[in-house]
């Protein structure tokens, strides 16, 4: 997804001389090296200085540019939080803050590199829009949208490397709308981001059991598609949320709120990271499993 983001941004920058990228000492990947060599005046490396990364992006936007601020998710969102709030959200500037490697992708680097709370934090900010593509193809759509929109700031949560393509046969991507990767009538799995691969595995196994399964990418976390969530709750007997995020303030808690608001009668199960830091090491799936996020446990709970 990181390479896809870079390549898409390079294409956007070629078409639009106002596209800038401000990075905080992130290692070049994909077409980022091409971007920096062909458009050096629009590739700004602030070094290990995330506060000024956001402030500089704000200044560029105040003068009519379309900047991206890009680094590892924890450092792009948490470290310069007040700059994101005041400079970007309060002034409602079209700056995209890219959180790369969000969730527990940096599985062996420890809790300092885990982004477990980002959706709640970003969503709490007025004017902020939140996107979390589930695969490289969605990352292309989301990046293009960010580069062309003037609505205000965006937090773009992306993966890192090796995410499989999951949406080749899906409905068209549309900002602010749920996207069905497959449609069924009985169980609906709502998810977003990198963990959609695990959700796909769960959907496949449920289908193998003879269940009719919908699989939905809720790629736009803010504004969340309330009408779409309501329809999913009303049209399926069982809704399952799978999320690589703490229980507070993410998709799971919002779906529960909507379910109460609309007096939903379906069964609703949510699977999230726990409200705890992770001191385990290993693969991303090892860490997710330590918090109960594994296909086996999810299937056992919902079958």
């Amino acid at each position: 997804m990181r390479n896809t983001f870079s390549e898409t941004l390079y294409a956007e920058a070629t078409a639009n001389p106002d596209v800038y990228i401000v990075v905080a000492d992130i290692s070049p990947a994909g077409s980022m090296a091409k971007f920096s060599s062909e458009y050096p005046e629009r590739f700004i490396n602030v070094g290990v200085a995330e506060q000024s990364m956001i402030g500089i992006a704000a200044g560029l936007a105040l003068k009519g540019c379309q900047p991206f601020a890009y680094t590892i998710a924890t450092f792009s969102l948490y470290r310069p939080f007040e700059m994101i709030r005041d400079d970007l959200c309060y002034q409602n500037l079209p700056v995209t803050v890219v959180g790369m490697g969000a969730g527990v992708i940096y599985s062996t680097l420890g809790g300092t590199h885990h982004t477990q709370e980002d959706i709640a934090i970003a969503s709490a900010l007025p004017n902020m829009q939140v996107l979390a593509p589930c695969d490289p193809l969605e990352c292309v759509e989301a990046t293009r949208w960010c580069a062309r929109q003037k609505n205000g700031p965006v937090y773009l949560r992306i993966g890192k490397a090796g995410e499989p393509v999951l949406t080749a046969q899906a409905e068209p991507w549309q900002f602010g709308k749920l996207r069905y990767l497959r449609r069924g009538s009985e169980v609906c799995i709502l998810t977003y981001g990198v963990i959609t691969a695990m959700a796909t595995d769960v959907a496949d196994k449920l289908a193998a059991q003879g269940r009719s399964v919908s699989l939905v990418s809720a790629h736009t976390l803010k504004p969340l598609d309330r009408d779409g969530i309501t329809a999913a709750l009303q049209q399926h007997r069982h809704v399952v949320v799978i999320e690589e995020h703490v229980p507070q303030g993410g998709l799971a808690s919002q779906v529960k709120q909507i379910a109460w608001d609309v007096r939903a009668t379906c069964r609703l199960d949510t699977f999230t990271l726990q409200d705890a830091f992770i001191h385990n090491y290993g693969s991303t799936n090892d860490l997710l499993a330590a918090h109960g996020l594994s296909p086996e446990r999810i299937l056992a709970a919902i079958s």
């Binding site: 506060q51 402030g55 105040l62 700059m83």
Partner: protein
């Protein structure tokens, strides 16, 4: 980039008028920072009335008030330039008004929202980059407080401005040597000498009397111009009113009627 000549006497007259206008506003509401506005009055006057080309909404140059708490002086100068109206200033900090204690982006003449310190200079760097990228010759002027130099984000931007050779930045530090709890030089003696820090980071620097209009103008008009410029201006918090000078309480409060009358009398003797 600057005007060919500068009338320092006229500047002093304007500054006396600005301070009086701020005092008048202080009798309507209690929310303002007179001390910090008075310390940078001559600097802000010089930026708008001598340095910026065609100051107002169509200027190719930009002024960003990084020390947002000093924005009363910006408001009264913008009123004098016709950018803000008397009604705008009369409605300051009221339910019907649009001007608050800190500058707010979206209001006429206000280039960025500030108030939390340490945000201004990074945004200035971004603005200066955009001017260069768009092949425009706009200058970016800003005024920082000395307290802002305690924010790490300021130094991140100091480092970037010189590394990127952003010679279109002219910054001032309103070095009134006060923060809320006392003198900056006492809480942070290692900050001094201040100009040397910017010099070491690759900026062109100047040190001046920040209440001397001619000196302010000269510091900018005689610059070499191939690097960002930091003018460290020695100022007095509450300058112009004896009981306000170097008295931290005037970071917060408004004068009562007797204090107001005395302040007006003192300003009139300085005209």
């Amino acid at each position: 980039m600057t005007q060919a000549s500068f009338d320092a006497t006229a500047a002093r007259t304007r500054c006396q008028r600005y301070r009086r206008r701020i005092l008048d506003m202080s009798q309507r509401v209690s929310a303002l920072h007179i001390g910090g506005a008075f310390s940078c009055t001559e600097i802000v006057d010089c930026i708008y009335n001598a340095l910026m080309r065609n100051p107002g909404l169509s200027s190719p140059d930009t002024f960003l008030m990084s020390k947002g708490h000093g924005c009363m002086i910006q408001y009264v100068v913008l009123e004098a330039l016709g950018v803000l109206t008397k009604a705008d200033l009369d409605a300051y900090c009221t339910p019907h008004g649009r001007l608050g204690v800190h500058p707010d982006y979206g209001n006429p003449g206000i280039e960025a929202s500030t108030g939390s310190l340490g945000h201004g200079l990074p945004m200035v760097v971004g603005m200066a980059l955009a001017e260069r990228g768009k092949r425009r010759d706009g200058m970016i002027y800003t005024v920082l407080s000395d307290g802002e130099t305690q924010e790490g984000s300021t130094w991140e931007a100091v480092l970037m401005a010189s590394s990127l050779k952003l010679s279109n930045i002219v910054a001032f530090i309103d070095n009134n040597d006060f923060q809320s709890l006392g003198r900056t030089s006492e809480t942070h003696p290692s900050l001094y000498p201040l100009a040397a820090k910017f010099d070491a980071f690759g900026w062109e620097t100047a040190e001046i009397d920040g209440h001397d209009p001619a000196a302010i103008y000269r510091a900018v008009s005689t610059r070499k111009g191939d690097r960002p410029l930091m003018v460290v201006a020695r100022t007095t918090k509450g300058k112009g009113v004896s009981y306000m000078e170097n008295a931290p309480i005037w970071h917060y409060r408004s004068p009562n009627k007797d204090e107001y009358a005395q302040a007006i009398r003192e300003l009139e003797t300085q005209a």
